[in-house]
C-alpha cells in the first residue's frame, strides 16, 4: 500500500461520483419525494405521509405485496437450488462440462425484455410450440400466461430459467474454491458422496449461498419486464407485482409521489431481506 496524497482521489472520483449520483442519490430522492404530491401543473406539494398511507391502505397494494412476497418465496429457493445443482453438474473440468457452462449462462445474454417476448411466443395458448407438443402427446392445451391460475407460476418458471445459469457461475466459484484435498481426505476416511456434500461442501459454501440468495432475492422483488410485456398485470390482476404497480402509478397514472412511495417500500423490503438472509446464513457458519 502506498501513500500518495491526493492521487488516489483522482483515480476514485469519476467512479465514486457516478455511484453517488446514480445509485445513492436516487435512494434519497425516493425517501424525500414520497412526501410530496405533484399538482396538475407540475408544482410539488408537501403532503407528508399521505402517499405512504394511501399505498399501505389500498387493498390492491396489499394484494400486490402479498403476491410479491409469495413470488419471492418460491423463486429464490428454486433459483438457489437450481444454480447449485447446475454447478455440481458442471464442476468437473472436462471439455464437455466447460462447454455446458457456457450454454447454461446463455439466457443472461438475452435481455430480460426479449426473454419475455420469446416466452410469450413459446407458451402462447394457440400457436406456442409448448402447447403443440402437449396436444401432440395427448395432453390438454394450457393457457399459461393467459390463465388466471397459471400466469404467476409461468412467471416463476421464466424467472428461474433466466437466472439459474447466471447464479451457477457464482456457485461454481464457491465449489472450486474448496480445496480438493478436503474432499479427498473425506473420501479416504470412508465418507459417502452425500456425506461429503452435506458435511464439507455445504458448510464451506455458506458465504456463496448468502451472496446468491441476497442477489436472487433482490432480482425477484424487482421482477418487472415480463409482467409489463406479457400480461400487464393480468389476467384478473393475478400478476400484479409491486414493481409493476410502481410503474403503473408513475407512468400510467402520472402520480410520481405514489410511485416513489412504492419504490421506497421496495428498497426497504430488499434491504430487510438482505439483512435477514445474511443473519440467517451467518448464524449457521
Amino acid at each position: 500500500m502506498f501513500k500518495a496524497g491526493r492521487t488516489p482521489w483522482v483515480f476514485l472520483l469519476p467512479a465514486l461520483l457516478g455511484l453517488a449520483l446514480f445509485r445513492l442519490a436516487p435512494i434519497g430522492v425516493a425517501a424525500v419525494g414520497s412526501f410530496y404530491t405533484e399538482g396538475l401543473t407540475g408544482e410539488m406539494h408537501f403532503t407528508g405521509l399521505d402517499n405512504l398511507v394511501s399505498v399501505a391502505t389500498d387493498p390492491d397494494m396489499v394484494a400486490a405485496l402479498l403476491r410479491t412476497l409469495l413470488f419471492v418465496a418460491v423463486v429464490v429457493p428454486l433459483v438457489v437450488g437450481m444454480s447449485f445443482a447446475l454447478a455440481l453438474l458442471v464442476q468437473a473440468p472436462t471439455r464437455f462440462s466447460i462447454a455446458c457452462r457456457t450454454i447454461l449462462v446463455l439466457p443472461v445474454t438475452m435481455s430480460v425484455a426479449l426473454t419475455a417476448v420469446l416466452w410469450n411466443l413459446l407458451f402462447d395458448p394457440i400457436l406456442g410450440p409448448v402447447n403443440t407438443v402437449l396436444s401432440g402427446m395427448g395432453f390438454e392445451r394450457q393457457f399459461f400466461f393467459r390463465g388466471a391460475d397459471q400466469a404467476l407460476p409461468t412467471m416463476v418458471a421464466l424467472a428461474t430459467w433466466r437466472a439459474s445459469g447466471y447464479w451457477m457461475i457464482f456457485m461454481l466459484a464457491g465449489l472450486l474454491a474448496i480445496a480438493p484435498d478436503l474432499r479427498e481426505a473425506a473420501r479416504i476416511d470412508g465418507a459417502t458422496r452425500w456425506q461429503s456434500l452435506r458435511y464439507i461442501t455445504l458448510p464451506l459454501m455458506t458465504r456463496t449461498f448468502a451472496f446468491v440468495a441476497v442477489g436472487a432475492t433482490a432480482v425477484a422483488f424487482l421482477f418487472f419486464a415480463p409482467i409489463l410485456v406479457i400480461t400487464s398485470g393480468g389476467p384478473e390482476a393475478r400478476t400484479e407485482l409491486l414493481m409493476f404497480k410502481a410503474y403503473e402509478a408513475g407512468f400510467l397514472r402520472l402520480n410520481h409521489g405514489r410511485a416513489l412511495a412504492i419504490s421506497l417500500a421496495l428498497l426497504v423490503l430488499v434491504g430487510i431481506f438482505a439483512v435477514l438472509e445474511l443473519r440467517l446464513l451467518r448464524a449457521r457458519e
Binding site: 500500500m1 500518495a4 457452462r101 435481455s111 400457436l127 432480482v219 430488499v270
Partner: protein, 273 residues
C-alpha cells in the same frame, strides 16, 4: 451423490431446456409466415423445422424502424463500455494500491452499491433526471450505467495480486502513478478488462425499464423496447418478430462467446469473498 450416467442425463436435459427456445427462435425466423398456423395446430416434424426456408421475415426487418433502435443499442452499449472500463479500473486500482483515509468505508459502500440493483432506483432516478432536464437524450441512457460496483470489485481483486515491487521499481524509474496505471497495471489486467467489458455490455444490453421510461421517443428507442412494442402472434408481423429477436440476440451472443472464458474465470477466481 448421483451416479455418473444420471448426472450426465440431467446435464443434457438442462442444456436442452436452455438451448431449445433459442434454436426455435432462430429457426422460426426463416419460416414463411403463412405456414406457422398450420404446423402449430398439429404436432409434426414441421412444427419445428420450416417446410421451406424463407427470407421474407429477414427482408421485413431490414427497415429503419428496426435498424435505428438496433444501431441505438449498439451505440449506447459501446459508449458505456469504454468509459466504464477506464473509470472503474481506475477506482479498483486506487482501492488496491493506495492507503488513504476512509478507504475501507468507501469500499464497503461500493460493495453495497452492487447489492442495490439498478431497477430498484429507476423511478427515483427518473425524477432526478427529469429535474436535470436529461429525459430523451443519449447521455441519459449511457451515463447512469457507467460506474459499476461489481466491476470496481473485480479490478481491485486483480490489482491487489500485483506485487508491491512492480510499482516500487516503476516509481524509482520516475514514472508517475498515472503512467504506472496506464502503461503497466491496465495492460497486465487484460483478462479483467475483457470480463469487465462483458459485464458492462450485458448490463446495458439487458436494460429495459430505464430506456423504456427515460428515453421513450422513437429517436432514442433501444432495440429491446422497440421489439416489445410489437409482439402479438395475432398481429400480422410475428414473422418479423422472430428475425428481430434473432438479430438482437446474435449481436449480444457474439461478444459473449468471445469473452465468456474471461468472464466466468474472473468471477470464479475472484473467490467471491
Amino acid at each position: 451423490m448421483l451416479p455418473g450416467l444420471t448426472q450426465g442425463l440431467l446435464l443434457v436435459l438442462a442444456v436442452l431446456a436452455t438451448l431449445l427456445p433459442f434454436i426455435w427462435m432462430g429457426v422460426s425466423s426463416f419460416r414463411d409466415p403463412g405456414e406457422i398456423f398450420r404446423n402449430a395446430m398439429r404436432l409434426n416434424w414441421h412444427s419445428f423445422v420450416p417446410e421451406r426456408l424463407s427470407l421474407v421475415n429477414w427482408e421485413g426487418v431490414m427497415r429503419p424502424d428496426f435498424l435505428r433502435p438496433l444501431a441505438n443499442s449498439i451505440f449506447v452499449t459501446v459508449a458505456t463500455v469504454i468509459p466504464g472500463v477506464l473509470i472503474n479500473s481506475a477506482a479498483g486500482f486506487a482501492f488496491a494500491v493506495f492507503r488513504f483515509p476512509g478507504r475501507d468505508m468507501l469500499f464497503a459502500a461500493v460493495l453495497l452499491s452492487f447489492m442495490v440493483p439498478f431497477e430498484s432506483i429507476v423511478i427515483p432516478l427518473f425524477s432526478l433526471v427529469r429535474w436535470l432536464g436529461w429525459v430523451d437524450t443519449y447521455p441519459v441512457l449511457i451515463v447512469p450505467e457507467i460506474a459499476n460496483g461489481l466491476v470496481i470489485f473485480l479490478f481491485r481483486q486483480f490489482f491487489t495480486k500485483l506485487g508491491r515491487e512492480l510499482f516500487e521499481a516503476a516509481l524509482i524509474d520516475g514514472a508517475t502513478w498515472g503512467r504506472i496505471f496506464w502503461s503497466i497495471a491496465l495492460p497486465l489486467s487484460w483478462p479483467t478488462v475483457a470480463s469487465a467489458g462483458l459485464i458492462l455490455f450485458l448490463t446495458q444490453w439487458d436494460a429495459f425499464f430505464w430506456p423504456l421510461v427515460a428515453a421513450s421517443s422513437p429517436e432514442y428507442t433501444l432495440v429491446q423496447v422497440a421489439i416489445t412494442r410489437n409482439l402479438d402472434f395475432e398481429q400480422t408481423n410475428y414473422g418479423r418478430l422472430f428475425s428481430a429477436m434473432t438479430a438482437a440476440s446474435v449481436v449480444a451472443v457474439i461478444p459473449f462467446l468471445l469473452l465468456q472464458r474471461f468472464y466466468i474465470r474472473s468471477i470464479t477466481t475472484s473467490g467471491m469473498k
